[in-house]
Amino acid sequence: MKISCTVNGTPRVFHAEPHEDVQHLLKREGYISVRDSDDAEGFAGSDTILLDGIPVYAKLLSVGQIQGRTISTPESLLSGRKLSVIQQAMVDAGVVQSGYNAPAAALLLSELLERDPDPSEAAVKDALSGLFNRATGYQQFFQAVEIAKERMKDPDYATEIAPEFRDDLRVVGKVRPKIDGTKLVAGWKAFVEDMVEPGSCTLKMLRSPHAHAYITDIDTTAAQAIPGVLAVITHLNCPDRYYGKAGQGFPEPSPYDSRMFNQKVRHVGDRVAAVVAETPEIAEQALSAIKVTYEVLPAIFTVDEAMADDAPIVQNGVVEYMAGAPDDLEQYNASAEPKDGKVVIQFPIHADPHRNIAAGAHGSIGDVDQGFSEADTVIERTYETSQIQCTPLETHISYAKMDGDRVILHASTQVPWHLRRIVATALGISENKVRVIKERVGGGYGSKQDILLEDVTAYASFLTGRPVLYHYSRKEEFIGNSTRHPMKITVRLGSKKDGSITAVYMDVRANTGPYGNHCLTVPMNACSKSLPLILCPNMKFDVTTYYTNIPPTGAYQGYGAPKGSFALMTALGELASELGLDLLDVIEKNRVRDGSLLEILKCLGEGREGTPAYVKSCGLEPALTEGANMIDWGVKEQADDPDVMIGKGVAIIQQGSGLPGLDHSCADIKMLADGSFMLHSGGADLGTGLDTVSVKFAAEVLCVDMGQVSILSGDTDNTPFDTGAYASSGTFFSGSASMFAAEDLKKEILSSAAAILKEPVEDLALAVPGKVVSTSGAELTYWEIAQETQAGLGRGQLVGYASFTTEDSAFPYGAHFAQVSVNRLTGEIHVDKYYALQDCGTPINPELALGQIYGGSFKSIGHTLYEDMMLDDQGVCQVTGLRDYGVPMISELPTDFKAVLVPTDDPYGPFGGKSVSEISCNGAAPAIANAIHDAVGIWIRTWPMTPEKVLRALGNI
């Protein structure tokens, strides 16, 4: 049918099938900012447009509905390359981070400001109520609207967006727009989906309907015979190689326990066959033509089921070791089932796959038995955390094409180099034959650390020679994406009457699901990021991870820490209550402080021997003091409704800044012919502002404006190696590499200047704006130096390089306070106040750091109260969309939500900086659990803390 309408002021005539939806139409017509992140669920709002001036979801409109109407897309907000007032305000406020929904948010807010030039917070909430924003939460939108509102009256309006730090520095610690903010909020080409060329093929996956089964027969002939089908890949014809899908440093602590396709399926949604076809429709048709016969096996879903003596074995294949094989391996393998394939273990990780144990770790300091015997009170409690989805707005996506004999992968990844290694391993080719180009990442939160679809996409292109796109549906995210490992954690605490802790024991039982992604490190992290918060000479932990048949698990922001913190900090609350002491006093008595030696870390190396570390900076004292003041700690609040009780809770938290001794980041920086700079960073900015950090560091060192430094990052052909963006390593590792590369270049500049000026290098220094000054009074601009060095007889282009590794740790700390209202009659819980006070050393990008804290805290409020994957007794995930899963939207924001930066100066961090993002996920669960207890006297020890659990604990049902 012919559709006439006006788009962004231009009359247009489109030809469309009546069943086409408007988002699809607009996107194919080049309005690429109109996206769809939930397959027409009508929830996430990535497809927001204005129809006759009113915001609507384009995906829920059929083309007939726009006949004769006027449409505005986010593209309409721009004047040429200039952002609109609200777009610029969003960038300035730091709310544009991964940015997938930023164009839609800008459109909604611009419609709001048109309707109501002086909107209240409630009006902003209302305007954004149909928009999902996972990365930064929503808090900073209020500020963006305030800024825009004022700038509409006075274009020169300026305000303090965030506190600034380090008076001695020019750009580090200062509020500066995120360098890719404009591109993201404008909706320009940025994500993998924007790179797909016309004529590319589609990959679709046939997934297992069974939680545990052998494929006894698979017939793909009918599918292959369908015109337009290019390949069908199954366990019968895929490369016969085992690899791990966890993007970790090599050698990985995670076992290689799967091939591209396995004869055994181990969860509902496991890969069975991939179809590569000319169009998505043909691919779908081919999927339904594949005939599979299964021998269904009994399945297990919980740690308790996995531990049972007669439990079905999830990974019953031959176990191999790359190093450190036990002497009885042959005997161990006697009972292996060849159809189960293999488990290749890189080095001993206490694995016992034939008893469903994927990994284990055990350690202690002091004498725990002695510690407990000295205690006046001993409590033991068990806590359970649930399986949590990352729910990135941009669902997992991979686009592969061939360049001669090289595979080029456009990827939305946190780990370009691990991805290259794993793809090369999977395909059996060398790494030089693979190029990974990390595009902007529309939300990762850990799940884009894992190689979930790139291996098969790359192979599909390698096999067919065609460009191939594989884009997860939202439903696939729920069955084929890495999730938080569910854990059952028992904590035993011994204490004196005054609250001094004499012994701590933690028993972590983790559920890794079908494969061992991060099976050692995530559960260990539950201990390594919680136990060191308490200074106690006697500590012991046991960590065991079990294989089961739940959907896959892996990395998620905070890694194991949110779970360990929940268990330990809630147990501390229970101890305080048992002793009749104030929780804050008990924390104060036992907490880590500046200069503490964290001895327990010697047992908690990730897959290798750990080292005890000293705390070189710790902002817990100011964080606790300020937080307690903010929330009026100790004051009992009363609600107007007699059924509603109010309570307060607190938790202290920590994380690391990368993995000292394991992580490795490199960068180089070149002086260009006019004296500006091109920085190549291996770091993978997943929206958090890492590229901005790197540019700031280089600009600071080289005494130039940030505009004089451009960056290319995460391209395996054109930038140097980096282990990737995980374990809170961005600022500390990748940032340090950029800083040291700039320092290296600085040396080059000074020595070149010395040669040109014929003066001793010691007399020279860099100065703003981009020049070398001598004590003699002579000066050389960078332009002059570049001209000289790059002239035919000069010393050549000046290049700085750094490869950064370290054994030193920089721990970020925080204190999170919550105030909740609990309705005793209905069980409803409302978060009235949430204060997240965090020490990230020097906040390099203060406004972006605040965004990370808001985002992480809000995500973890979601995990604590709402989000639920829910499997039925056959292992089928009952939730296939964002709505039923229960992601929090702006309506769920705490009434009073504040993130506070508590600066410290870490001697090891670049410019004193430490990590900020992951730690933000660790506080909500224990702070809220403690607050619920304070309100109504019950302990909820499992996630999510629902009204039904409240009612049961209160004995109402």
């Binding site: 049918m1 009546p18 069943h19 939806d21 939930d38 397959d39 027409a40 669920e41 009508g42 929830f43 709002g45 927001t48 009113i54 915001p55 609507v56 979801y57 995906k59 829920l60 409109l61 059929s62 083309v63 007939g64 509905q65 006949q67 909604l108 209302d126 305007a127 109520s129 149909g130 928009l131 009659l825 209905t826 409803e828 109260l865 709402y866 639920d868 829910m870 009952q878 939730v879 969309g881 709505r883 039923d884 229960g886 992601v887 929090p888 939207m889 309506s891 769920e892 999510p944 629902t946 009204p947 039904e948 009612l951 049961r952 109402n956 049902i957």
Partner: protein
Amino acid sequence: MITEFITCGSLPELLVTRNRLANSCVLIAGGTELNRLGSPVAEKELAYVSLSGLGLDQIQFKDDGLYIGSMVTLQQLLDAEEDPLWLKEAVKGAGSRTLRNMATIGGNIGSFRDDSYLLPALIAAKARILTADVDEQGVLIEEDVPIREYTEHASAFNGSCITQIVIKRLDRIVLTKRYARTVQRRPDAIISFGAACDGSALADIRIAVGALGTGVARLKEVEEGILTGSLTTHEEILQVVKKTTSVTDDITGSAAYRQYLVSVTIADMLARCKQIAEGGTCT
């Protein structure tokens, strides 16, 4: 799959078109139910017959009540000054303004969803539905149906065209509550309670519940029990709720939890209604 998108110049033309295409077409209002993922018509080949442009998007106060055109969007309902508060409260169950900008009241009723935003409240308010049809000669036939009848005999009205929703008894007390873990998550339960004031006593009680997995339904035994005075506490109400509803466990919670919520909320609403009636502030 949509085979055709048909727009009509008048209501009779639309009704004739709909009759002509019979089961191979469906009326489309905002399209948020029809076009969403998992749409009830996703697998069918259907023509869309559009209700747009027929003037059905007006809210009017008349002498005998409030007349709401079926194409009035949920956001219009929220913005309109004339609307009673309970209706606005029910509309807020649709937590997304963007969705409310698209979703219509007619489409909401026509969807007959178990978790309907509006049906429980409209039943409690004793709203009426005006439908339109044409006979074989093309003569317009209009019907005025109590909403209770419309929902109880949903299949009989399948395909009928709602033109207006009328709320005549604006003096009724109506309370409505939607429980959901997050505003936009699938609701655990929806409860609406309506009553007229007979002096300082309550009369003509209507209780409707939704989101229990069995379609929006009236709790007639509870209504009767309250009127006769045999049900006063939530424990008593719970016994009847358990007997008369067949709720199953689902992702929103267990049956026991949701039956508890229903009964505790009815008891609370009853107490609040009584207070209003006794305070003489019924209108």
